[in-house]
Symmetry: C2
Subunit: 408 residues, 2 copies
Amino acid sequence: MIVNSLLDTDFYKFTMGQVIFRNYQDVSVMSRFQCRTPGVPLAQVINLDELDAELTHVTKLRLNNSELHYLRGTNEYGARMFDEDYLQFLRDLQLPKYFLSFVGDNIKLDFVGPWSKVTYWETFALSIINELYYRTLMSKGKRFFQETLEASAICNLSDKVETLRACPGLTFTDFGTRRRFSRGWQDYIVGTLAEEMPEQFKGTSNVALAMKYGLTPMGTSAHEMFMVGAGIAPQTDEGIRESHNDTLRVWWKQYGQGLSVALTDTFGSGFFFEDFSRSQAQSWKGLRHDSGDPLQFGRKAIDFYRSHGVDPKDKMIVFSDGLSPKLMVYLYRKLNEEINVTFGWGTNLTNDFGFDPLSLVVKPVEANGNGLVKLSDNLNKAVGTKEDIARYKRIFRHNHEERAVCIS
Amino acid sequence: MIVNSLLDTDFYKFTMGQVIFRNYQDVSVMSRFQCRTPGVPLAQVINLDELDAELTHVTKLRLNNSELHYLRGTNEYGARMFDEDYLQFLRDLQLPKYFLSFVGDNIKLDFVGPWSKVTYWETFALSIINELYYRTLMSKGKRFFQETLEASAICNLSDKVETLRACPGLTFTDFGTRRRFSRGWQDYIVGTLAEEMPEQFKGTSNVALAMKYGLTPMGTSAHEMFMVGAGIAPQTDEGIRESHNDTLRVWWKQYGQGLSVALTDTFGSGFFFEDFSRSQAQSWKGLRHDSGDPLQFGRKAIDFYRSHGVDPKDKMIVFSDGLSPKLMVYLYRKLNEEINVTFGWGTNLTNDFGFDPLSLVVKPVEANGNGLVKLSDNLNKAVGTKEDIARYKRIFRHNHEERAVCIS
């Protein structure tokens, strides 16, 4: 089976998971699978029974004792960052029921239930659908076609290593679990990078692989925190607007500086930079960029910090949108003298076999009955009903009208 | 071990072997290993004990019953082309003693004894030394270095397949046993080409692989026939000059038209085209090119046939020197409308891992006490003492002063 451990997920599911467990136990959500890449007949490529079996298998998984030890022992972001009551919750965690059907060419896959459990479905559903899709594409070719693609993926990885070695100050992290070509391939990449460039490869978001290779598990929080935060706030314009900073404060309360990298684009980075206070600018370690023009964002962040009397050299940006080695080197060279930059590298790292990548997401679409919204700095990544998006654009004075192809 | 079957050799060893068995049982030869690539400290790279063990292993091999059946059943060049007495000789064949030592950076490896047995050493010694050499180069890199080279070799093979598919009339044969990166890699290539391009890939010179994959074993004769032929002829200028055509006649007597592809460059193609008679031009199927400018050779061959009233469209050239897909496509496009061309593809097919190829040979250097000579159309491929080469150049009016890097 594709997923064989509940640790085969992104670390941020646990860091968010604890905050949800602690603060939002009574929140019900619906999360929904969506393919953002147009014109991909997923339901024609993937077999329904196989997908169903893979998802069912995940509902049968439990964290074992060693896995719980690993989480309990995690101290990279502060001593004993996972409290015992949360670990007990995880010990008993069973993923809730899913609702799967094929509608025309599309996969309809919803997850409904308490946010504290539904949240874990995201990465499992994505890595399963991704792997089944590419497995089918591979199986359509003959043996040598498959072996050539595997070989070209190794050569591509080797080229990546060479390109990044030529820029020795540049550091990065594997963020590719959800978009990986396959579990085995991500494992190969992570093991290889750990061996080949231990100084530059700082870790992986995949907890199972971090555990396997003795790497640092990496990640903080996702759009989901802000989206649900807005959905359960008083549904006035002001309530929704203020929810964003409330979410940041809840986060800080749980983890303090250790995990204080703020995701900036849920409702547009324009709003973020207005809303993020001088004291937050001072105390938080840095910012994550996940949509819109990355260089422009970097310049904006530098200006932002300076305008608050903060030296950007004391802060960091984590870039995680549509990265390639060339883009990473470019951003590093353009920005790193003024602000520390690092990279959370997804799709292009773990799915570079020559097939077009898919942009798949599982996002919460409803919390306690209210529709949820993500705007981002690329409206092709927006989530929500047309009306809700329009309302949020107004509330957050969103003016990023860019629409870029989603490649991650 | 590297060689595990006496069929893991070139088919021409058996076609020549039968002619030697039938006609030259009393000839003693000394064959010698030589590395034509300058500046390669083979004895520093290869381990003496390992090489010794590999060579000793070859002396312990015998043809088994199925292998003898395979040879007995070979009918691609005429019914029952291998006579029963020769097959009985092969059944009992044990390779003679070898003389191995390391002298400075070089491997000294000689084979002395009856030509009828010594002849078989050539390909085994070459493929063993080649594989040990590249195995050491590989072992100097880490795991990912090795896996990247393996992957790039697969990608290179895939590119070759694509390039040649774009030229669907072009046919070729694997001639890469002696220069292969490894036995396993040649096996992979031959199996893959048989699957991927059965219309264009016409067979392999490697008898074990032809047997394994049901392909046509390919090959006729080598310089060795002409070199020894000259060495055992009356050692007058005339005797040496006439030996070349004697060798061709002995060959024709054994195999007739079936194997009538004449190697043209032993003493220079200039002499060959003077010496090859009108009736040979009419009866022999074609010519093999193994040194010098291939396009120029093709034009010369076309003119040669026309001057003898032969339509070149009824004849063929087998190119086998320093081939690449690009060169093959070029020669095919330039020549195939006027004369049939095909390719015996060696080094670049079976040793394209990114390392520089080695030009290794095992050639007879003495027969019945006389020094042997090969001139070829590339003096960097010449064999023999300085004096003998000078004498042969005079005897054969050799004027190919070209010296090209030996890549095969």
